[in-house]
Chain length 343, copies 2
């Protein structure tokens, strides 16, 4: 997912696969192998020995063990060291894949491994649960969300954060502003100011009633391409500024991070809508006759496999929505101090 | 290369990687791992258990051992068995990667492994050397080329063959027709008639003075997409005919194989021309100052690495040439009996 999306947006990608699985894990079963930390390191050494490390951006995602996270971290740090004479020439987007919906799906030792490397990254993309794990703050309101982001900026000295999906409708009514549309998700981002304060923006998008696999990787990959474009479209000084941190006077909604995220979400929304249409058609056409002879448990398993396959994100025929998104979303600036609940 | 090219042409690809290398082997050095036959088989079992094997086409390429070739062969045969009630619903393109320029670059036991599986494939894509290995006929003229293709059709009962690159200018003058343009390569293809006779076509393309890596995979991947399109554009009965073999009355130049190859070569020529321009610019801009302090051998090594990197095929920014090729090549029909040398 991540490799193809970046390629479709014009990036030349050196993909270092950390797993080799037959299918995504949402199917509930898969076969294949995980890369060891040694294999990850060896592939990077292969790139180094042939001088193939002139990367503009590194995107790191799921790594199958704490040692693998450390190996990926060492690669990011080495690339940063190689680029340190040219600020802004290398940018590391780190997706701290640890869990979702209140549950870790990695070994517990992966958490401290991430906590050790995150302060080297330029942008992290935790989901709500991962933001809680990293900040130590339970997110139950916009106020605690702002606190978590502020804490992440401060604790890890990380300039850019996007919390990729927050279900504001689950927050208590008092803290949720009346403008929250029903059935929508919020994406919350921030780039720090020089005093460490967050510049918070929020983008609401309609929630789609379907479980898609790979959307986290899709978001990350689109962000890699779009953020760099937005930085290059901004003040020319920005692209030679360490970590692409905009000057303090740039408001939240004018941040390259906000501008790029609006585009990223527009692309995703269109592709996922098209995927839902294709999924529905595929499920309507599905041959379920054989199912009748199966046990209830086996029938349920077949049904899950069929639904998982039908919901595979339709990328290759929907490239135009990645390249030229048409949907329009808006970023809104917000501050903890302005929230009704903190009055 | 193969995965991305098929994706760019609208195919959903399940890629089963047989090697995990840091870079292509043209650099002369690389690190990484090869998949074992067991790992290849296990990944396929993973697809089977989740009912993810409804493939229209399989493209098989380099496999790192005889056992791996057999494992890939078993996958192709299993997919054929699953599709046997619906002729034409599954098509296997096999690139018998064994060597080039008169030299094997696989273990010698890979050759008999290929010879065992090839008769199950629908189309094979040997280069000139591999065609010699498979046919047992040394190709030194158009006459021996025709004999080799005829032998491959007969020996392996394989309906479609393309010899992906033949340097006719190296043939003795008498056998080379006077129309061979200097500095050109010929691509020779054939689909059998029901009596086993080849329907030979030939497409001449300008040779580009550069060593590109991955062009065999690019050719194969483009062929997967374009051949299926050409079959679907032909007589509707063809797509439900086993192995998509056109009726005997279809002349060589009207074969879907000839029509698709013309398009494939047009795409390749444009992408490789753009690659050469980019390569030349990259080499002109290269910083070679540090080279002066190196030993002659080390300087040569650096130079080779630099040239290899500069010649990396530029795909992601040249997608339009894959999707809408503009160059025009022509397929010419020919017969062994019509050659000057056989008169």
């Amino acid at each position: 997912m991540a490799t193809l999306v970046m390629q479709l947006l014009g990036c030349d990608v050196a993909a270092l696969n950390t797993v080799h699985f037959s299918n995504h894990t949402g199917y509930g079963q898969f076969k294949g192998t995980r890369a060891t930390a040694e294999q990850i390191t060896e592939l990077y050494e292969g790139l180094c020995q042939s001088h193939l490390t002139d990367f503009d951006v590194m995107l790191s995602g799921y790594a199958p063990s704490a040692a693998a996270v450390e190996a990926v971290g060492a690669i990011g740090m080495d690339l940063q060291r190689k680029a340190e004479k040219n600020p802004g020439s290398f940018f590391w987007v780190l997706d701290p894949v640890m869990g979702d919906q209140g549950r870790l799906y990695v070994n517990t030792d992966v958490v401290p491994a991430y906590k050790k490397i995150i302060h080297h990254a330029d942008l992290i993309l935790p989901n709500q649960f991962e933001a809680e794990v990293l900040s130590g703050i339970k997110i139950t309101s916009l106020a605690t969300l702002a606190e978590a982001i502020t804490a992440i900026h401060a604790t890890y000295n990380i300039p850019h954060v996007i919390i990729t999906s927050v279900d504001l409708t689950r927050f208590s009514q008092s803290s949720s502003p009346p403008t929250t549309p029903p059935g929508s998700l919020a994406i919350i981002g921030s780039t720090t100011r020089s005093d460490g304060a967050p510049r918070l923006f929020r983008i609401d998008v309609p929630a789609l009633d379907c479980y898609f696999s790979g959307t986290g990787d899709m978001f990350a990959a689109l962000t890699v391409a779009r953020l760099r474009e937005a930085v290059f479209a901004a003040d020319p000084a920005l692209r030679t500024t360490k970590s692409w941190v905009s000057p303090d006077e740039v408001p939240a909604t004018d941040l390259p991070l906000a501008r790029s995220t609006v585009q990223v979400l527009a692309s995703m929304h269109s592709v996922l809508e098209k995927t839902m249409e294709a999924r529905d058609a595929e499920l309507r056409a599905a041959d379920t006759q054989g199912d009748e002879q199966l046990s209830a448990a086996e029938r349920q398993r077949r049904e899950h496999l069929r639904k998982s396959k039908a919901a595979e994100v339709r990328l290759v025929r929907n490239v135009q929505f990645l390249r030229q998104p048409t949907v329009t979303f808006r970023a809104h600036g917000w501050k903890k101090e302005d929230l009704p609940s903190s009055r």
